[in-house]
C-alpha cells in the first residue's frame, strides 16, 4: 500500500478550513482529566465549538515538553488511574460523536511499551487519524514510519526555530497531516506574544514544500489564532483549553473554545491584527 495515495483526514480537514476561513483551529485536551468521562465530553464539546482537529493528549509520567498547566492535568489523570486502554476508549467515543479528525499526542515510551504495531492497529480500530509524537524525531522513527505508512495513519513531527534546513526537510518528508511548528523555544503554556520566530519558521517550511504548517506553543487567545493564521495553516491551542476545563468545567471550555474558533474567521475580528 502506498502512503502517498492515501488521503490524510487531517490534511483534508485543514485544507477545507483554509478554503472556508483563515485556517484551522487545532485544540488539545488530555484523556482522563478531570476524569475519563469528562475528558471525552470535553473533546466532543471542543469539536462542537469549532475545533477543526482534536489532539487528544496521552498522560505520561515524564512530560518534558509540557509546562505547568498540562503537567498538572496529566499528573492528575495518572493519579486518577489513567490506563492506556482509556485512550482508545476515549478515541472511539469521540470519533463516533464528531466529524473532526482526532490525533493522539503521545510521548514515545507508552507506544513502545504497548508495541508500535499493536498501538497503530488500535488507533485505526478506534477511528483515530494518527499520532503526534513530541519526543520522537524522524531519525529514530523507523518502526513508526513503517507502521503508519501501511495503515495510512497520519504522523506529525515537530519543526523548531533551531532546526537546520536538512532537518526541516526531513520533518516535512516524514510528516503527514501537518508539521507541528514550534512557535518559540520552550514548552507548552500561554504566552503574551507568539514569537516572530514562528512566522520565519513557517516561511522556511514552505520553502521545503510543507503542505500544512500548524503553529503551537503559547497560542492562547483568539487574536493570536488570527495572527498565526495570517501565515500558517493552523493554530494549535492546548494550555488555555486545559486551564478553562480545570477552572470552569465544560461550560467554560465551550466559551473559550468558541472564542478561539472565532480567530479562524480572519484578522478582521482580531483587535491586535494589522
Amino acid at each position: 500500500m502506498s502512503g502517498a495515495t492515501v488521503t490524510s483526514p487531517v490534511e483534508t480537514r485543514i485544507r477545507a478550513a483554509n478554503a472556508e476561513r483563515a485556517g484551522a483551529f487545532v485544540g488539545y485536551l488530555p484523556v482522563g482529566f478531570p476524569d475519563l468521562a469528562t475528558s471525552i465530553d470535553g473533546a466532543i464539546a471542543l469539536a462542537e465549538s469549532g475545533a477543526d482537529v482534536i489532539e487528544l493528549g496521552l498522560p505520561y509520567s515524564d512530560p518534558v515538553m509540557d509546562g505547568p498547566v498540562i503537567q498538572r492535568a496529566t499528573q492528575a489523570a495518572l493519579a486518577g488511574g489513567f490506563r492506556l486502554r482509556h485512550a482508545f476508549e476515549a478515541l472511539r467515543a469521540i470519533t463516533a460523536a464528531v466529524d473532526a479528525p482526532v490525533l493522539l499526542m503521545t510521548y514515545w515510551n507508552p507506544v513502545l511499551a504497548y508495541g508500535v504495531e499493536r498501538f497503530a492497529d488500535d488507533v485505526v480500530a478506534a477511528g483515530g487519524a494518527g499520532l503526534i509524537t513530541p519526543d520522537l524525531i524522524p531519525d529514530e522513527a523507523g518502526e513508526w514510519l513503517a507502521a503508519s505508512e501501511s495503515r495510512g495513519l497520519d504522523r506529525v513531527f515537530l519543526a523548531a526555530p533551531t532546526s537546520s534546513d536538512a532537518r526541516l526537510e526531513a520533518a516535512v518528508a516524514a510528516s503527514r497531516g501537518f508539521v507541528y511548528t514550534v512557535s518559540t523555544m520552550g514548552i507548552t503554556g500561554a504566552r503574551a506574544d507568539v514569537d516572530s520566530a514562528a512566522r520565519t519558521l513557517v516561511g522556511r517550511l514552505r520553502e521545503h514544500g510543507v503542505s500544512n504548517a500548524c503553529v503551537g506553543l503559547g497560542v492562547s487567545t483568539a487574536a493570536q489564532v488570527a495572527e498565526v493564521l495570517g501565515y500558517a495553516d493552523g493554530a494549535i491551542v492546548g494550555s488555555a483549553l486545559v486551564a478553562a476545563l480545570a477552572d470552569g468545567g465544560l461550560d467554560r471550555l465551550g466559551v473559550v473554545a468558541r472564542d478561539l474558533a472565532s480567530g479562524t474567521r480572519g484578522p478582521g475580528r482580531a483587535p491586535a491584527s494589522r
Binding site: Y60, S61, D62, P63, V64, M65, G67, Q71, Q75, L78, R83, L84, W108, N109, P110, V111, L112, A113, Y114, P134, D135, L136, I137, D139, E140, F157, L158, A159, A160, P161, T162, S163, S164, R167, A171, V182, M185, G186, I187
Partner: protein
Amino acid sequence: MTTTDARYSQPGPYFGAYGGRYVPEPLVAALDELSAAWEHAKTDPVFQAELADLHRNYTGRPSPLTEVPRFAAHAGEARVFLKREDLNHTGSHKINNVLGQALLTRRVGKHRVIAETGAGQHGVATATAAALFGLDCTIYMGEVDTERQALNVARMRLLGAEVVAVKAGSRTLKDAINEAMRDWVTNVATTNYVFGTVAGPHPFPAMVRDLQRIIGDEARAQLLERTGSLPDAVCACVGGGSNAIGIFTAFLDDPGVALYGFEAGGEGIDTARHAATIGRGRPGVLHGARSYLLQDEDGQTQESHSISAGLDYPGVGPEHAFLADAGRATYRAVTDAAAMDALRLLSRTEGIIPAIESAHALAGALELGRELGPSATILVNLSGRGDKDMVTAGQWFELIDRDAEQS
C-alpha cells in the same frame, strides 16, 4: 578466550540496540552543536592540556589507589583495592565530567550552565566549575533530595548557584532531569546542559564516558604497577552509571577482568521499593535514550527507591544496557541495609567513610570476595565520600542501635 575483543567498545550514538536521541526537535540543534564541539575537543591538544591541568592542580588527580586489608578480611580474604575518587575536590567522581563540560561550555560560547542532581554531588561539582569559570548556574534537584542532602544544597548556594527544588512527580532525580530539560529547551541559546551521568540523549552517554574513563585508565596502570597484574573483578555502583563506565572502560577489552555493577536494591528487589533498573526493568525510552528502565505495563516510569539519593533513578545509561545484554558486565542489586553495613564496616576497619552510593559497590565487593576467595584481586570504585550522608547515616544507625538494645 580471545586476547582482545574490541566489539565491546562502542563509540555511540548507539550501543547495540540502545542509546540514540529521543528528544523534542528543539533540542536537536544543541545536541548536534555539543556533539561537534566534543568531537573536536576530544582530540584537540589545547583542550586536553587544559583539562589535564585542571585534573592535576584543581581536582588533585591522579586519585590514589588504596589497598584495604582489614576490610578485605570480611571479603573472603580477597585483595581489595579502592580507587579513591572520594579524595577528589568536591568529594566524588562527578568533578571529572563537569570540568570537561564546563570547558566545552566556554568553547561553544555560552555563559550559563544548568544541571540536575540527585545526591547533590553533581550539582556541587557543577556549581564549583561554574564559580571557577565565571558561569551562571542553576541546579535542579528533587524536593525529596533537597531534604535528604541539605548540606549539599547549602554548598551549592555558597558557591553561587541557584538551587531549584523540583516538586513535580516523584520529586527526585528523574523529575529534576525533566525540569532541567524544560529549562534547556527554553534557554538553549545561552545555556549549556551539563549532564551528570552516562544517560540522556547522544552525545551525553559517550561524552560523559570519555570524560570519566580517566578513573579506569589510572586505576589499571596503578594496579599493574602495584601488583603486576590486572584485577579479577572490578566493582562499581550504578545510578545512571557514570562512575561504573568510568572504571569499566579501561578493562572492556581485558577478557579476564570481570565487571560488576551494583544497583540499588532498596528494600529488596522483590518489593516495589528499589532502583534495580537492569535487574528488574525492561527496555524502553526515558530522558532521551533507549535503555532499561523501571516502567509499568503502560510504559509509565515507576518511582524508584534507594536510601542513596545518587542511585535513586529508574533509568540507566544505554552503554550499561548493552554491556548487560552482551554479557560483558554483570549487574546485581545491593539492599539499603547491606550498603549501610558496608559503609560502617569500611569506616571502622579502614578509617574511610564512603558515600552511601559507593557503599553499594563495597557491599557488592564483600559478597564477590566471599565467592572468589583469597586468591582474587578486586578493584572497587570508591566514587565519593560520605560527609554529605551523615544525617542519613546518623538516623539509620541510631534506629539499628535502639532495635539491637531491645532484642
